[in-house]
Symmetry: C2
Subunit: 403 residues, 2 copies
Amino acid sequence: METMIRISPEDALKIVLAKARPKELCETVPVAGALGRVCAERISAPIDNPPFDRSPFDGYAVRSADVAGATEASPVRLRLAGSIYAGDAYTGELEKGTALRIMTGAMFPHGSDSMVMQENVKTGDGGAEIFVSSPVGAYENYVRAGEDIRKGQLLIEKDETLGFAHLAVLAAMGFESITVKSLPVIGLFCTGDELVSAGSPLPAGKIYNSNEILIGSRLRELGFAPEILPVGGDDAGATAAKIDTVIEKFDAFITTGAVSVGEKDIFHEVFNILGVEKLFWRLNSKPGGAILCGIYRGKPLLCLSGNPFAALTGFELLVKPVLGKIASRSGLTVTRRRVRLSEGLNAKPMRRFMRARVEDGEAHFPAEHLSGQIFSVIGCNALLDIPADTAFEAGGEVYALPF
Amino acid sequence: METMIRISPEDALKIVLAKARPKELCETVPVAGALGRVCAERISAPIDNPPFDRSPFDGYAVRSADVAGATEASPVRLRLAGSIYAGDAYTGELEKGTALRIMTGAMFPHGSDSMVMQENVKTGDGGAEIFVSSPVGAYENYVRAGEDIRKGQLLIEKDETLGFAHLAVLAAMGFESITVKSLPVIGLFCTGDELVSAGSPLPAGKIYNSNEILIGSRLRELGFAPEILPVGGDDAGATAAKIDTVIEKFDAFITTGAVSVGEKDIFHEVFNILGVEKLFWRLNSKPGGAILCGIYRGKPLLCLSGNPFAALTGFELLVKPVLGKIASRSGLTVTRRRVRLSEGLNAKPMRRFMRARVEDGEAHFPAEHLSGQIFSVIGCNALLDIPADTAFEAGGEVYALPF
C-alpha cells in the first residue's frame, strides 16, 4: 500500500469537500411530507396572510368615529345590523350608527375600522342594539390583510432546510406540494470475514456486525435513508467488483472495515484495482489511523474503520459534513462549542477525540472509554477534541463536537 | 359556557399529567427500525463483547515471558507458527518460543498473553521467524473478552429512548429485533368554517388551514405519526358525533379552533354534549386564552387555539409533555434554560410566551412577533417565558423553552 502522510481532520475535510458536489436532482413532495427536506426553489408569497382585514377577537365591528365620545356615563348606542362569522364572505357596508357582531378571524365589513371587544359592550332591545361605553381608536383591534405575510414577499430561500414553521407558512399560502432536493442515495457496505449478522449463532472468532446499525442509525437520525449492502468479506477483488457494480446509483458510498495496515486491510488494494482517486489515508488523531477516502466515478468513497468508535468518529468528522454538502443541508457541518472539563486529563502525544456527555457547558467522561468500547457511548452526546501534548486540569476548556 | 378560572401553564400541565396514562401496548420491531423508540424491556447482555480475547492491532501474538529480555542489541528470535486473521477460529496453542501473525480483531491463541506491534518486529528466514527487540508486558496490547460488555450486565433499562448507540450495542449483542412501546395513536382534527385545504381556490373570508401542517409537522419532528382527520366545521353536534365515533382508536386527541369566547367557539358545547370531564379552560398567559383540555373515555382531549402561534404555544407547554408521558418518552418534557435578552422589554400585566432565536445563550426576537404572525416563527428555536409586570433591560435573564 502507498504511504501517505497523516493529515488533520480539518485538512482532510477540506480535501473531500472540494471534491463533493451538491446533488441537483429535485422532486415534488406534499408539504406534509417535506419536514427536514431542502427547498429547491426560491418561494415568494402568492397571497397576503391574512388574506383580508380580520378581527383578532370576538366582539362588535364599528366605525371608530361613531364611538369617539363614548363614556361609562353616556354610552353610545349602535343598532346591531347582523353578524359576521369566521369564513363568511361579508359584502355589505357597515352603515354609520350601526355595529356588526364579529367573531375572531372574521373579515371586517367595508366601512368599519375597528372593533369593540364583547367584554366592553352591553346589549339592549332584545339584542337589536348595543351600548359602547369607551372609545376605540381607528385600526385598534384590527388585523390588516398582509400583517403576517405580504403578497410577493420572499418566504423561503433556495437550499433552506424546511422545519415545521416553513411548512406552516407554505400551508397558510395554500401550497399543497413543494419542490425539494432529492435525498442523496447513500450506500453502506460493512466488510470483514469476522462479521456475523444478528439473529445467527456466533462461531468462535466472529463478532456481530454492529457498524451497520451504528452508522445506519446515525444516518437515519440525520434524515437520510441509507441503502444497506449485504456484508462483504476480506477479498479485495470481490469487494472491488461489488463496488464497481453498484456505485452508479449512489451519491456517496460508505464502507467500514479493512482500512488499517494489516494483511487483510483490503481497501488499499480495492482502491488500486478500481483506480480510485485517493484523497487521503489516516488522520493525525486518535482515532483516525483507519480512515481512507477517495473519489470513484465522481462519488465520494468514504472508508471508515471497522472499530465502531473509530467509525463513529470518522463519520462525525468527515462523513456527516460531506453528506451535508451533497444534500445542501447547511446545518450538517462540524460544529464546535467550548466546554469545561469536569476532570483533568494527562497530555498525550496525539490529538484525541473522546466521547463525553456535555451538560450545561460541562463535559463528563463515562467511566470507561477505550477505543474498543461502544457501550459507554450510550448517554454521550459529543466528541471532545483534546489537543496533542496538552494536559488539562478540571475546569480546563476544550471544544466539543455535538453528535 | 361554564366560567373557569385561568390557571398557570404549570398547574394546567400537572392536572393533565395526573390524568394521562402511559400506553402499555408493545410491539417487536427490527433493531434497524427502532431509532427513537422506547424500550419496553430491561435488556441484559447475552454474551461478552468482545466475545473472545482479541488483538487491538496488527502484529504478532507472543508469550510475554519469551520476550522479557529483548533489547535492540540482542533481539529475541521466535519461530513463526502461522497466522490468525479476524474471523478465524484458532484452536491451537501458542508454543513457547514461537509467535503467530495476528491481525486487528483476531482472537488470541491459547498460551499467548500479549502481542508485539508489527512496526516493532523484523522478519527473517524468508518470513519463517521474527526478531523482537523490546519486551512487552503481560496483557499489554491485549483486549480481554468482555472488556466492553460483560455477559449478564444491564444494557438498557425499560423506558429508555433508543438512540443510535443503544442500537449499536444491541447489534453487537446479536439482537435482531427488540420489543418497544407502541407509538401513541394521535388524532389531529382542525375545525373552522373559515378553513380551506391547500390546493383549492380561496373564497373571500376564508383562510388556508395551516394548523394541520404546523401541529402535524411538529408531531412528526418529535417522532410521532399523527392521524389527520378531515377538517371539521363549526357545528357542535356534528363535531361531538365525529369525536365520539373515532375516539376509541386514539391515545390522545388534538383539535384546533373554536375554544375562545365567541358564538362559534363550539368546543364548550362539544364538551357538554359528550360529557367530557373538563380539566381547565384558559391559561393565565398570553397566548393561553384559548386552550381547553378534558378527558373523554380516558383519553386526553387537547383543544388548541385556531390562531397558529397560540396553537404552537399550547402544544409546547401542554401537548408535548402529555404525549411524552403517554409515550414514556422521558426526554419529552418542558425544558427551561436561562438566557440573556438581546434587547429590553416593557412590563406587561400578563405573563407572555414570545418566539425567539437563542444562540450562545442570548435570545433575539424577530422583527415582528404579533400573535397572528406565523412567518416570523421561521428561524426561531425557543419560546421565551416573560413574567408578568416585569420590565427587562438588554442583558436581563429569562427562561427559554427550546422547541
